[in-house]
């Protein structure tokens, strides 16, 4: 019911997309060639089936109407921009419009839960994200969903993590940071965009890996409402350090306001004067990355899954899509469903292990 209503404001949005959308010259023919025959075929098929009486809609070829892509985070955030990038190139490959819908709140739980209970017909999909699909499930007891409630299509982008302090703090290496933590337990703070966010678990995971005992006592978690506020807190000296997606910190690092301490990529990052976790002797921290992927409710049929799988491959290979993701500091990746699920499961286990060890579970 709510879905029916959802299409009205949404479809208006896509009309604007068609009129004002990017590269009209290129996309318009693509839309035409794809859409017209499908719509004709769909109509013909539907008409035929209506005549022969039964279940017309279930038989029509997927997709025969616009697809809603739920983003469980706010407009303008990293997830939202990734999704909108995806929706912008989608008309080249997906015969129906993809409508990005933000359903925000509770660290991504509200929107994610709404997709879990949506009809598994493939017309409501979700952008799965590190916070909503591994950190939150690992931490929060009362979450209204689990990672098994979704059927994953694939991960399409990865965001490496950087830990950084304010350049003015005088802490210029992980050793110095650990030294400070051990000298005065509880005084060192790390900022995050909220309980259950990647930043929340990242700070604890890194410090734990570096051998500090009793991490939740040794460092103080300072939650803010949003990544921007969290980074500002470090820059202004109100929090000691932050571990978050590289894209959120690059500007400050280049400008010299923040001092990077480590990166979780395999190789050193361009423009970031900091060692990799492997160089520091903790290659296990390479699991600490942000990511986005596409998923649907658990019971979406194979037909939907396979269609999305094909589209996602094409979209990730699309030059325009890659360019905009890279500009935002993400690494586009092409992972099939099996790899994606293994990746997500592994990260979930790493996080859950830490949560159990440190007693970070939220009840």
């Amino acid at each position: 019911m709510s879905e029916d209503k959802g299409r009205e404001p949404g479809s208006k949005q896509i009309r604007e997309n068609d009129i004002m959308g990017r590269s009209t010259a290129r996309t318009t023919p693509a839309v035409k060639t794809h859409a017209e025959p499908t719509r004709l075929a769909g109509t013909a098929l539907a008409a035929a089936l209506a005549l022969s009486a039964l279940t017309a809609t279930a038989r029509a070829e997927y997709p025969d109407r616009p697809i809603t892509l739920v983003v469980a985070y706010g407009a303008g955030g990293a997830t939202d921009i990734a999704a909108r990038n995806l929706a912008a190139v989608a008309p080249k490959y997906i015969p129906q419009p993809v409508l990005v819908v933000n359903r925000t709140g509770a660290g991504g739980a509200t929107g994610t839960a709404s997709v879990k209970s949506a009809d598994p017909d493939g017309y409501t999909m979700v952008v799965a994200r590190v916070g909503s699909h591994t950190v939150n499930p690992a931490m929060k007891e009362t979450l209204p969903y689990t990672i098994e409630d979704f059927r994953y299509v694939g991960v399409f982008e990865i965001n490496p993590v950087i830990c950084a302090t304010a350049a003015s703090s005088g802490i210029d290496s992980m050793d110095a940071l650990i030294g400070k933590i051990e000298a005065s337990p509880g005084e060192v703070t790390y900022s995050s965009s909220g309980v259950g966010s990647l930043l929340h678990i990242a700070g604890a995971l890194v410090i734990d890996a570096f051998g500090v005992e009793n991490v939740t006592e040794a460092i103080t978690h300072l939650p803010f409402r949003g990544g921007g506020e969290a980074a500002t807190a470090v820059l202004g000296g109100n929090a000691t350090f932050i571990c978050t997606n590289s894209s959120a910190l690059m500007g400050q690092i280049e400008a010299g306001g923040l001092k990077p301490l480590l990166v979780t990529t395999k190789e050193r990052m361009e423009g970031v004067d900091a060692p990799t976790v492997a160089e520091l002797g903790h290659p296990e921290l390479e699991a600490l990355v942000g990511w986005s992927g596409i998923a649907g409710p658990k019971d979406i049929p194979d037909e939907v899954h396979d269609a999305w799988s094909g589209w996602l491959d094409q979209i990730v290979a699309d030059e325009e899509f890659r360019k905009s993701l890279i500009a935002l500091g993400s690494i586009p990746v092409s992972m099939d469903t099996k790899e994606s699920v293994a990746f997500i499961d592994n990260q979930y286990e790493v996080f859950k292990g830490l949560v159990d060890k440190l007693g970070m579970r939220i009840e």
């Binding site: 929706a87 709140g105 209204p144 103080t220 921007g228 000296g237 500007g251 280049e254 935002l328 939220i362």
Partner: protein
């Protein structure tokens, strides 16, 4: 490259027909979207973002800035005409704008709102251009303890907008605080008052509560009144702001603009609190203080100057430090990054032409805002001429649409109606709605910053006295409370408490 060369280069970048058109289009789209209740300026900017990807960086960024400014101004139109703020930032405008419209001065209120917005916008832009570095340093000196004392001071505004009875105002504020606690605990992430509902986990959304609180009671009241006063309404919307009135309000406009600039430069405060703060200050210092809340022109001027003063200034932390102060500038930051530009100190060194081009464009956007606003007023003032039998159902439809559009769920529509019934009850018992709203906005900010401060100071209260800024706001708060008590003693009947 000399500054002069850079300026010429920047001028050449901006002074092209399609760039100017993009900026104008941005403002127009912003005003329209901002005028639709429920569609906030933030959503307008986010929706416009993908369209800018293929544009030239300068054009794209200027277009987004245009949408932002237009959106913040546009919100005041329905706030005045149908008592439904188009964006949260305009909620304060309702207090005096709507009573004016009811009195048959919709045109005057709309005009004043536009003048105040444009003047504030100009001042805000100039502050960005002239004092960006200084204001950015000031903004960075705000940590949780400073925010806490600032917001504590802002809460004293409640006493000002409580109307005749402070006690009812405080009860109203208490309800606001109570509803604001619903959702997840900031520090522990535990559930508060969610009763097992996944929808309540994210707390009550601001916009449905806002619409419910103001628009629904209004619709209900008008319905129960039952008369369709076509004759009376037809006279509406013919009044204009006179020169004398403009002169009278100018002091408040300037002061409110400065408050807006400061609030805008500090990341994370936003338009709504800035408007309330400006309103509170204007009321405190105005000779017409008693008329505030009953349709005082100066009140409209103050709140609109306050919220538009924020616009240019929010670009300060973004451009000077690379920090997005709010969601809107976060989206604009995204637009910079998509084009391979990184805002921050380096931008001024490496891409000064881009910076200057943005400065030129941002000044130009104020002009477009004025032109668009004049046209919009002409178009919208006729709303006041529509008979109630048509207007009220239309308003109700808009309210439902607005509440739904925020998060695309029917749950928010239910929240809107529930708050609406409560708002109707409040009107009936003579309880003012403004304190509810202020507490609902500021309460969570107060709590968050208090708890962050306590975490930072390891539960030592002395952190709230750590800097001159905190002392300044403590002193202001103490002085304001003392003044209120003194005024109360002096004879105005204020119930103890």
């Amino acid at each position: 490259m000399s500054a002069y060369d850079a300026f010429l280069g920047a001028f050449a970048l901006v002074a092209q027909l399609d760039n100017v058109l993009a900026l104008a289009l941005g403002v127009v789209v912003g005003v329209i979207v901002g005028a639709v209740p429920g569609m906030s300026a933030t959503m307008a900017v986010a929706l416009a973002l993908p369209f800018t990807f293929t544009l030239d960086p300068i054009v794209g960024i200027l277009m987004l800035i245009g949408v932002y400014k237009g959106g913040i101004y546009g919100g005041s139109i329905p706030a005045i005409l149908i008592k439904t703020p188009g964006t949260p930032a305009s909620s304060c405008t309702v207090l005096d704008g709507h009573p004016m419209a009811e009195r048959g001065e919709a045109g005057k209120a709309l005009e004043m709102s536009l003048y105040a917005s444009c003047i504030a916008d100009m001042i805000s832009n100039l502050s960005l251009i002239l004092f960006a570095a200084w204001l950015a340093a000031f903004a960075l000196s705000f940590g949780p303890p400073e925010y806490f004392t600032l917001i504590l001071f802002s809460l004293t505004i409640i006493a000002g907008v409580a109307g005749d009875t402070l006690l009812k105002g405080l009860i109203s504020a208490g309800f606001g605080l109570l509803l604001a606690t619903v959702g997840l605990d900031l520090v522990y992430g535990t559930d508060r008052f969610i009763f097992g509902e996944a929808d309540l986990m994210s707390g009550l959304n601001f916009i449905p509560v806002l619409i419910g609180l103001f628009a629904i009671p209004e619709v209900l009241l008008q319905c129960t009144r039952g008369d369709d006063e076509i004759g009376r309404v037809a006279r509406l919307g013919r009044s204009h702001v006179t020169l004398a009135e403009m002169r009278r309000c100018l002091r408040s406009i300037f002061k409110s603009s400065l408050i807006g600039v400061l609030m805008g430069a500090i990341p994370g405060i936003g338009g709504a609190p800035a408007a309330f703060m400006a309103y509170g200050e204007a009321r405190r210092s105005s000779p017409n203080a008693a008329n505030f809340g009953r349709g005082e022109l100066e009140g409209v001027a103050a709140s609109e100057a306050g919220n538009n003063g924020v616009c240019g200034a929010t670009m300060i932390p973004l451009l000077a430090l690379g920090i997005p102060g709010d969601v809107i500038t976060a989206v604009i930051l995204g637009a910079f990054m998509v084009h391979g530009l990184q805002p921050g100190p380096l931008l001024f060194q490496q891409n000064i032409v881009v910076v200057y081009a943005i400065f030129i464009g941002i000044m130009l956007s104020s002009v477009f805002l004025f032109a668009t606003g004049m046209i919009a007023i002409r178009a919208f003032r006729r709303v006041a001429d529509i008979p109630k039998s048509i207007l009220l159902p239309a308003v109700l439809t808009l309210c439902v649409f607005g509440a739904y559009a925020v998060n695309n769920t029917m749950f928010d529509v239910a929240v809107m109606f529930a708050t609406g019934l409560f708002g109707y009850f409040m009107v009936r018992v003579g309880m003012p709605a403004a304190p509810f709203l202020i507490a609902f906005i500021l309460g969570p900010m107060l709590e968050d910053n208090f708890r962050q401060g306590m975490l930072m100071g390891q539960s030592d209260f002395s952190i709230f006295f750590r800097s001159p800024i905190t002392w300044f706001f403590w002193a202001l708060t103490a002085a304001t409370v003392a003044l209120l008590v003194w005024q109360g003693r002096k004879g105005r009947i204020v119930p103890a408490g």
